[in-house]
Amino acid sequence: MTEASFQRTAVGNVRLHVLPTDRFKTYAVALYIGSPLREDRVTRNALAPFVLRRGTKTYPTTQLFREKQADLYGAGFGFDVYKRGDYQLVQFQLDIVDDKYVSESDSLLRQGLHFLGEAVTKPALENGHFLDRYVQDEKETVRKRLEAIVNDKIRYAAERCMEEMCKHEPYRLHPLGKIADLASLTSDELYNNYIEWLKESPMDLYIVGNTTLDEVKAYVEEAFAFPERASSPDYVRAIPTKKEGSVNTVVEKLDVSQGKLNMGLRCDVTYADDRYPAALMYNGILGAFPHSKLFLNVREKASLAYYAASRYDGHKGILTIQSGIEVANYEQACAIIQEQLEEMRAGKISETELTQTRAMITNQLREGNDSAFDRIAFDFNTVLSGKKRTPEEIAEAITRVTTDEIRQFAETVQLDTIYFLRDRKED
């Protein structure tokens, strides 16, 4: 399915992954910096990219920095902070046009990497730490973002469900950290944390586009000024948490017109496990597609919802189910969803469900080949899990998964938490 694979080397203990291809009109660049989710570090790490995007040594004001970004044909520069398994990941990303479509004398890839290198490793400083003004602004920005989670009720319900389910694990933490920790953080503390973070964290830099490993290596060496890194740390896999006790039901009331029903389930299979393809099939048959059991039974047959779906987080070993329903239909929706889980446990899976789900998963895997950033994200799963998989291998494994293997996997799936967000009216 793929025409080439990633070529790899390292620069200063930062892993470099390059995929040379002329299929895209841009160069896609992604830098992953990971750190274990920890109460005392999560907020500080999350703040780092926010402060970094305010200014660099060469472009000390935010406006100069953004003007430079615009000058580079609007390089798509951005960052994201999220969780994968028990890690907090900060991902910087850059999407910059291939010179051949515009008239530009200096290589845009080179200029783009210099821009990213500046942003990540050469921040604007005063008195040996970040600028107080930038730190104050960005603490405010992160606080507003954390407070704004409640505005999007679908996301809020999903995050509350995870928070309840994982209340005794690091996974309960929000990737942006805690509002309570923001106020007291100083520029000095943040800067020291940032240096530690750059020294100790696993780091992976990906480039996909019309280039070569040697060219990229040379640019990265001149563009990035990482502090001395003693080693190139790997990600450590966590063992999935087992479900203990009975199902935890949480009901929360807010001024909403639609109820949000979320469920969190645990399983003991993660990305590196041999049963991973069976887990993918389970999720596909249960709720990942419009032909899946949840969509058919909650939406099409009972007409209870517009969306009813499941998701499988292979790095954490968690399945989630989400649906938006009329508050009064809570019991009925719960019952229908639980019936579907029961069917999965009983191995009540038709040949058609198997074929359709296989075809859909295979298609998803192949489609990823057409997007540079999807190629990067897929490859990064290998770095994160320690298990080398290619889309072709997973697709091939999917064709061999039997109903019995899916049923065996279903037996390990335990409903842990039911979270229901409803209106304030009484029943």
Partner: protein
């Protein structure tokens, strides 16, 4: 089949108009695993009052285009998603102000999937029972949007600006308006707007153009469509003034959300001129208040805006408006500051360097967009329906002038045509 060579973008586009009026475009993307196809009708939420040449006036309930989109997926033998799934295709659809698009993406059985797409969209199957059942599902879709502050402020602003034009109604309608939809009204819309001459098929990906076209030709030749004259869309006369200067919506939010915008006089240009105006106004707005401008930075540093602050511009032959804003702790103060900061620029004009930088930025995002088969098909169709050509935007960008931008700036920021919508909690 006419191949159109687009040298600067290294693309080759194939086009054919079939005898029944259907326009087909094929863009091969060598090396791509995926094929993405959209089958789009020039029928959206604003088309609620119309007449076929020689026929009578038809007025339909709000939200019917979207309702029809939902119902098309049902076939006598069941849900069409199952057929797509058997061939590993992920299918979907969406309804906008002006069009309804059906689509799939697939890496295998591409020609089977293409046939499924065309056949299901050309085979309506509505029953009293399946229409009633859909009301529960769409009712939940409407309720989902009711809880969404972004959606509420966006549509709140449009409904404040427009007094008569149906762009002011919610695309999905309301629980009340969709209660009046029955299979007869659905068929009536279907037969008017789903005629091949009102539709466009776009196929992009790792496909052979001649094979795609041959499949479509054969498929269409086997079906009969009665000849159809032009559709007359009966739009009400929209007054020049905004309907409501300020609209407040109460929803529980962590911080107020404010969108404001300017309603342009109706009777704006059509065809290529419309597309040029769209590009030019977008460049103008970005040069003035985009994220790399001094106004944006000033507002950000005054903590009046967050990263959510943005702008957009919508233009069609009978409406055109901007939408600007995002989360803010103090909507009144933000609006006052925006006005203070913009006024001097209205007099002096934007600087040449800022304009050039923005032009480069927009050219960059245009080229980035062309990496995505989905974006190509959707944008191509949208611009084609407006009378322009997605693949001709590069020379258009290059031909924009500073004078043009500055004159649009002065024309657009007419404070008498300003409307504001604020979403806030009861206690904010």
């Amino acid at each position: 089949m006419e191949p159109i060579q687009i040298d600067r973008l290294q693309e080759k586009l194939y086009r054919e108009v079939l005898p029944n009026g259907l326009t087909v475009y094929v863009l091969p993307k060598p090396g791509f695993s995926k094929t993405y196809a959209t089958f789009t009708t020039d029928f959206g939420s604003i088309d609620n009052h119309f007449r076929l040449a020689g026929g009578e006036d038809i007025r339909v309930p709000d939200g019917i285009a979207h309702f029809l989109e939902h119902k098309m997926f049902e076939e006598p033998e069941g849900d069409i998603f199952a057929t797509f799934a058997s061939h590993g295709a992920s299918a979907n659809a969406f309804t906008g102000f002006e069009r309804t698009a059906y689509l799939f993406s697939a890496t295998d059985h591409v020609y089977d999937n293409l046939k499924t797409l065309i056949d299901f969209v050309q085979n309506p199957y509505f029953t009293d029972q399946n229409v009633e059942k859909e009301k529960g599902i769409i009712g939940q879709e409407i309720k989902m949007y009711e809880d969404n502050p972004d959606w509420r402020s966006y549509f709140g602003l449009i409904s404040a600006m427009y007094q008569e034009h149906p762009v002011r109604i919610d695309i999905a309608g309301t629980v009340e308006t969709i209660s009046h939809i029955d299979k007869e009204t659905l068929y009536s819309c279907y037969h008017t707007f789903y005629h091949p001459s009102n539709m466009l098929l776009f196929v992009v990906g790792g496909i052979e153009p001649e094979k795609v076209l041959e499949l479509v030709r054969t498929n269409q030749a086997a079906k009969t469509f009665p000849p159809q004259g032009p559709i007359e869309r009966l739009q009400p006369k929209e007054p020049a003034a905004v309907g409501q200067k300020q609209l407040i919506v109460h929803l529980p939010v962590s911080m107020p959300k404010m969108y404001f915008g300017f309603k342009e006089p109706s009777g704006v240009p059509v065809g290529e001129e419309l597309v040029r105006r769209e590009l030019a106004v977008k460049v103008m707005l970005d040069t003035l208040i985009g994220s790399s401008t001094s106004i944006y930075q000033t507002l950000y540093e005054e903590h009046l805006i967050s990263d959510s602050f943005g702008h957009e511009y919508n233009i069609a032959p009978d409406y055109a408006f901007s939408i600007i804003g995002g989360d803010t702790p103090d909507p009144d103060r933000l609006l006052a500051r925006v006005r203070e900061l913009i006024e001097p620029v209205l007099t002096a004009g934007v600087a040449e360097a800022d304009f050039e930088r923005t032009r480069r930025k927009r050219i960059g995002s245009y080229l980035r967009m062309l990496n995505s088969p989905e974006a190509i098909a959707n944008e191509f169709t949208r611009i084609r329906f407006a009378g322009g050509d997605l693949f001709e935007l590069l020379p258009l960008y290059e031909s924009l002038t500073l004078d043009e931008i500055n004159s649009l700036l002065r024309e657009h920021f007419d404070w008498s045509r300003l409307a504001v919508c604020i979403v806030r909690g009861e206690d904010q």
